[in-house]
């Protein structure tokens, strides 16, 4: 019963997103496609942070790795979208794995800073190799590089459906992971590392695996962003883009499967709405964040889970 309820909720979300494809006004249609791509990034962040307790400030490095793997391949080597997505996935995973080898020797605040520093080095590297990346200005991904087989990712409908497909796979894998024994070990690591160690689990390998999965998600999202929206620039690898998924996850609810999507959705429309009511729109955004967190300190779904919906995965 419990299992069905949770699964139904997630399938229901996917069904709603598919229905939205038919019914949505043009503006919101593209927005949701964009939000789904960014939600994949936030889900990846959530796997490291929400489930495993790894508070990273350097995820832009993984997102950027995917973004530039796909972007540079298409720009300099006539890569296609298929190779771009695979390369982005691989780049995100590899970079996360390599970073994990170093950074996971630390924990807590030291982990935050080590990841922050590596990501900063990554951002500066993009600038340093400006002759290939065009640095902060960035590059436009050529049309040929945005073809996924015969699917043109610059077409609105195709983009939405491909974003949906990637999002659906990411969501279901996340759900499966969260309910699998491995997912429970991750949570155990977050809750009490010592006790998990005594039960025979190696914290380092569990965390490294979680961080690598997180990197795969982030890299895929970065690559998808570059290919679907046709742009790769250094600002997308800057520290703001490390804070963004953290914010999405905290707003939606850390350690919940739908939380990252909900947070990304909320944040997008918060900014969008605020900027249409007032010029001083950061007041509205800032005040809304403060109020939201005052009334839902565990994020929206996290607070709902505490107040009765205990079955929420």
């Amino acid at each position: 019963m419990k299992l069905d309820r949770a699964l139904l909720l997630h399938l229901g979300l996917l069904a709603a997103l598919l229905a939205f494809h038919v019914a949505a006004p043009a503006y919101h249609h593209t927005n949701i496609a964009r939000i789904m791509v960014l939600a994949i990034y936030a889900m990846g962040y959530n796997i490291a942070f929400g489930y495993t307790g790894l508070l990273s400030l350097g995820h832009a490095l993984f997102f950027g790795a995917g973004l530039y793997a796909a972007g540079l391949l298409a720009y300099h080597a006539d890569g296609t979208a298929a190779t771009g997505l695979i390369a982005g996935l691989a780049a995100g995973g590899l970079v996360a794995f390599a970073l994990g080898l170093f950074a996971l020797r630390t924990a807590g605040v030291a982990f935050m800073i080590v990841t922050l520093m590596f990501a900063q080095a990554g951002y500066l590297t993009v600038l340093y190799f400006g002759s290939y990346t065009r640095g902060d200005e960035g590059i436009v991904i050529p049309k040929a590089g945005r073809m996924l087989g015969s699917l043109d990712l610059s077409d609105d409908n195709t983009r939405y459906l491909v974003a949906f497909a990637l999002f659906a796979v990411a969501l279901l894998v996340n759900l499966w992971l969260a309910r699998s024994p491995r997912g429970r070990i991750m949570v155990a690591m977050r809750e009490n590392e010592e006790r998990s160690r005594m039960l025979g689990y190696n914290p380092f390998t569990v965390k490294l695996a979680a961080l690598t999965i997180s990197g795969l998600y982030s890299g895929l999202s970065g690559a998808a962003y570059a290919l679907m929206f046709g742009y790769a620039g250094a600002s997308l690898a800057s520290v703001q883009y490390s804070i963004l998924p953290l914010l999405y996850v905290l707003l939606g609810g850390a350690g919940t499967v739908i939380g990252p999507f909900l947070g990304a959705l909320l944040m997008f429309y918060l900014i969008d709405y605020a900027s249409s009511v007032t010029d001083a729109h950061q007041f509205v955004t800032g005040a809304a964040l403060v109020l939201l967190i005052l009334f839902a300190p565990k994020g929206i779904l996290g607070t709902l889970r505490e107040r009765g919906l205990r079955w929420l995965p």
């Binding site: 170093f102 950074a103 020797r105 030291a110 340093y128 007041f283 964040l289 300190p297």
Partner: protein
């Protein structure tokens, strides 16, 4: 220019960076060390100090030194009061839950930046230095005010150290840091201590900003770099260690300048950044932190 003077210049520049950084970071270190709060708005408090210093320079007539003197007293007080209010109105209600405070202080950051943009405007605005002399060395000239900043920062840091070590207020803060519940049991009003610490942390950032603004100008987005750097400095130094914060500020301030004498500037930044990360990988507790904190 020969290598020697080149290095000397890099060291002097590094010293100025380090002095201001140490001051900003000591504020964050207090907040972080005592309250265990990641204050994302710390850079915004820094910015607010600089912006207020500009307003003071516009309102106070007479020589620049006078308005500067007013600013160095008034700005930290105002910024501290704003911080204390934010603490009481928001952070306390969140029970200083680490994750919730991150979101709340991001919200605060938005609000403060928008306030600066709406009232102060988007332009960078200069504030005159209180003293204007230039030191002419055989190889190059150097701003006398910059050296004064180093001295002033050192004095403020000394004062903070004295307060923490030798006053009752300092004792209470340290007691709260070590064990919040026991402190409460001994009749310490922890809420008040926290509000005070948060205000003091923000005030220190504001002092640093008032000192730097004659060199750097006030701008509503100037808080980003000091936030990141002081964060790094606090962790590298070791949580709760003022001495560590000071040494880490020197390491970071100087390494940047010295490394940039050997590499292309952007490459130097990359190397310096990775070096700092590796320090932490090798010593996760920071330079002066206690193991297994």
């Amino acid at each position: 220019m020969d290598f020697g003077p080149f290095l000397l210049l890099a060291l002097m520049e590094g010293l100025v960076t380090a002095a201001v950084l140490a001051l900003t970071a000591s504020g964050l270190s207090l907040v972080f060390g005592i309250m265990r709060v990641v204050n994302v708005a710390h850079g915004a408090f820094f910015m607010l100090g600089a912006v207020l210093a500009w307003f003071v320079s516009q309102w106070v007539p007479g020589p620049a030194a006078l308005s500067f003197a007013v600013a160095i007293v008034l700005c930290p007080l105002i910024v501290g009061a704003i911080a204390a209010a934010a603490d009481t109105a928001v952070l306390k209600r969140l029970n200083y839950e680490p994750e919730a405070t991150i979101v709340a202080t991001i919200g605060l950051l938005y609000i403060l930046e928008q306030a600066a943009l709406s009232v102060f405007g988007p332009d960078a605005r200069p504030v005159p230095a209180p003293l204007n002399f230039r030191i002419q060395l055989p190889w190059f000239g150097y701003s006398g005010y910059k050296l004064a900043v180093v001295v002033a920062a050192a004095l403020v840091l000394l004062a903070v150290w004295l307060i923490l070590r030798h006053t009752r207020a300092g004792l209470i803060m340290r007691a709260t840091q070590i064990d919040r519940d026991t402190a409460r049991a001994f009749g310490i009003n922890v809420d008040k201590v926290y509000a005070g610490v948060f205000a003091m942390g923000a005030g220190l950032a504001a002092i640093a900003a008032v000192l730097i603004v004659p060199i750097q100008q006030a701008h509503y987005l100037m808080g980003g770099d000091p936030l990141l750097l002081s964060f790094i400095v606090v962790i590298i130094g070791g949580l709760g260690s003022l001495r560590g914060t000071l040494v880490a500020a020197l390491v970071i301030g100087l390494s940047d300048g010295v490394i940039s004498t050997f590499f292309a500037p952007t490459l130097a930044k990359i190397v310096a950044t990775l070096a700092v990360a590796l320090i932490l990988v090798l010593r996760p507790q920071g330079l002066f932190g206690k193991r297994a904190a």
